[in-house]
Amino acid sequence: MKKDEKLEILSINTSLYKTRLSKKFKNRAQYKSPDPLTVLSYIPGTIMEVIVKPGQEVRKGDPLMILEAMKMQNIMKSGINGRIIKILVKKGDKVSKGTKLIEME
């Protein structure tokens, strides 16, 4: 520990500690509660087929698109009754985990 080292503050149970912070802690993702109106890819892969069109009404369980991942064709289904507003990917796109695929209302 160098005498003039700049340290940071970490709060644990309302006590404030002067310390170094780890990279992992600084880069941790802020938690967001899941939004049922946004469809995200749950696994990285390739879009094989987009089944729905913007404006289309869908019911819970209707297929939205096919996402190929780990050599499996996964059918992404709607989690809600609603309407497709926007489709953000097209056939052939490679997507990473958590990519926004469809917006619904």
Binding site: I12, N13, T14, S15, T19, F25
Partner: protein
């Protein structure tokens, strides 16, 4: 004489095989900044101590024109030798021979030396430098890996097992090192991953270099797969040799005794720790102030730095140290630090190494990411490892020991043999600020000056509970000692624990929260 000509023939045969994959392949290896497998063994072992076995082994593969190829010693060197006079079994994969690929006979050589190491109860050192399975030998290669993993597991806790990654170690091959006790890596040379950058790019479209995916730094800082990081092969071998001096040959031996020595006079234990429990210091300075020669050999230095683990000697005996590090993340326990310490404690317990724990812990790290990463399950490993350990356990509470952190850090309640506390110790459910806020909530809320009342109440709590005497009054702490008395108390505790005997209930094995 007839015998002379036969000896000459042996020399010729040997000399040809000692070249491995030939001069061109050796040049290529050198161009990568790597030594040959044989040079590595020579650099590691005592001079002239290496006895090589199975030099003349050849593969029997027939498919894909393999019957037309000879591979010197089938791409791996095995044998035994000594390090500072201690016996060790060694294998080193030879990248100059078919990329060090693992075929049936290659794996049989490795399992032969593994069986030998286990039978003779001596440490095993595996030097990995291999492109992976020898595809031409198909399922026989897979069988080979499986036989190695099985032996790693069976030998675990009986003989120390060391893996040295000095080249690629990819796919299934990574699981042998992962099953061993200590993994050594070298910057720019070691590469470990299950799926390489090419596959990741094809399947997922993510581009990453080998170094960023599974280089030495990644495994030392991020994954925790590696225990020792070195900048050169030479430094790596020095680290291995040093480690060997601290550990015993097997689980029925103790580590070698060295001549006892005092810590360096420069390490003044009275001047390291600030009074205020929220201010940092380097706990390694405290360790250096109590161990022989102030020589502390740290393990996993770059990973989960909020806890420090490693070996030192006291009175000439090897001791395993576990210490919270207030300088890094305030010394909190979290998923990674619990994992790191728990595995080390189990190593010490398996190999008869007493454990000294230095406590200065604010508790567990709060956060969604920690909870979702399973801090309950991983934190439990630490409780398990300490509770299960029957080697001598001595604890020194330096400053704060709050809540679950107090219990987990080798407390009396997990059957520590000796618990000492410095006068600066604060053994309590949580820090004074948090505790006062809860206990005196009503008074603080209804006060005309809540801030002033809170301040008063925090002070009141500090006086009453932020000390070692409440715990000492119940016998949870055996003695409150001055910092300068620490080495004396530790030395005595370790000495009187020499013949510690504990009866554990009979069982096949426990079920730790893996």
């Amino acid at each position: 004489m007839a015998l002379n000509s036969k000896i000459k023939e042996l020399h010729e045969k040997r000399n040809k095989l000692l070249l491995g994959g030939g001069e061109q392949a050796i040049e290529k290896q050198k161009a990568l900044g790597k030594r040959t497998a044989r040079e590595r063994i020579m650099a590691l072992l005592d001079k002239d101590s290496f006895n090589e076995y199975d030099l003349f082994v050849e593969h029997e593969a027939r498919d894909f024109d393999m019957d037309k190829k000879t591979l010197a010693s089938d791409g791996v060197i095995i044998g035994s030798g000594t390090i500072y006079g201690s016996p060790v079994a060694v294998y080193a994969q030879d990248f100059t021979v078919a990329g060090g690929s693992l075929g049936l006979m290659h794996s049989r050589k490795i399992t032969k030396i593994m069986d030998h190491a286990l039978k003779m109860r001596m440490p095993l050192i595996g030097i990995n430098d291999s492109g992976g399975a020898r595809i031409q030998e198909g399922v026989n290669s897979l069988a080979g890996y499986g036989e190695i993993f099985f032996r790693n597991t069976i030998s675990s806790g009986v003989i120390p097992q060391i893996s040295v990654i000095l080249g690629p170690c990819a796919g299934g091959a990574v699981y042998s090192p992962a099953l061993t006790d200590f993994v050594f890596v070298v910057d720019n040379i070691s590469k470990m991953f299950i799926t390489g950058p090419e596959v990741i790019k094809t399947v997922l479209g993510e581009e990453i270099s080998m170094e960023d995916l599974g280089g030495a730094r990644v495994h030392s800082e991020i994954t925790g797969n590696a225990h020792f990081f070195a900048s050169s092969e030479e430094e790596c071998f020095d680290q291995i040799k040093k480690l060997i001096t601290f550990i015993p040959w097997n689980n029925s031996h103790k580590a070698r005794m060295f001549e006892p020595a005092e810590p360096s006079a420069e390490c003044n234990i009275d001047k390291i720790v600030p009074d205020d429990p929220t201010l940092p210091y380097d706990v390694k300075d405290v360790i250096r102030a109590v161990v022989d020669n102030s020589d502390f050999f740290e393990i996993m230095e770059l990973y989960a730095k909020s806890i420090v683990i490693g070996f030192g000697r006291m009175g000439g005996r090897t001791i395993g140290f576990v210490a919270n590090q207030p300088l890094e993340m305030a010394g909190v326990l979290d998923v990674d630090s619990s994992d790191k310490a728990a595995r080390f404690i189990r190593f010490c317990d398996a190999f008869n190494i007493p454990i000294i724990t230095l406590v200065d812990v604010p508790g567990y790290l709060p956060g969604v990411d920690q909870e979702h990463a399973g801090v309950i399950r991983h934190g439990a490993k630490l409780l398990y490892a300490y509770s299960e350990a029957t080697v001598p356990k001595v604890t020194v509470i330096i400053r704060k020991a709050y809540g679950g952190g107090y219990i987990a850090m080798s407390s009396r309640h997990l059957r520590a043999d000796f618990v000492f506390a410095w006068p600066s110790a604060e053994i309590a459910v949580m820090g004074p600020e948090g505790a006062a806020n809860i206990i005196f909530r009503k008074e603080i809320m209804s006060s005309d000056d809540p801030d002033e009342t809170r301040k008063q109440k925090v002070e009141e709590y500090k006086k009453k509970f932020a000390n070692p005497y409440v715990a000492a009054a119940r016998g949870y702490v055996d003695a409150v000692i001055e910092p300068s008395e620490t080495r004396r108390f530790l030395l005595h505790s370790i000495t009187v624990s020499e013949n510690k005997a504990i009866q554990m209930p009979e069982k096949k094995h426990g079920i730790p929260p893996f």
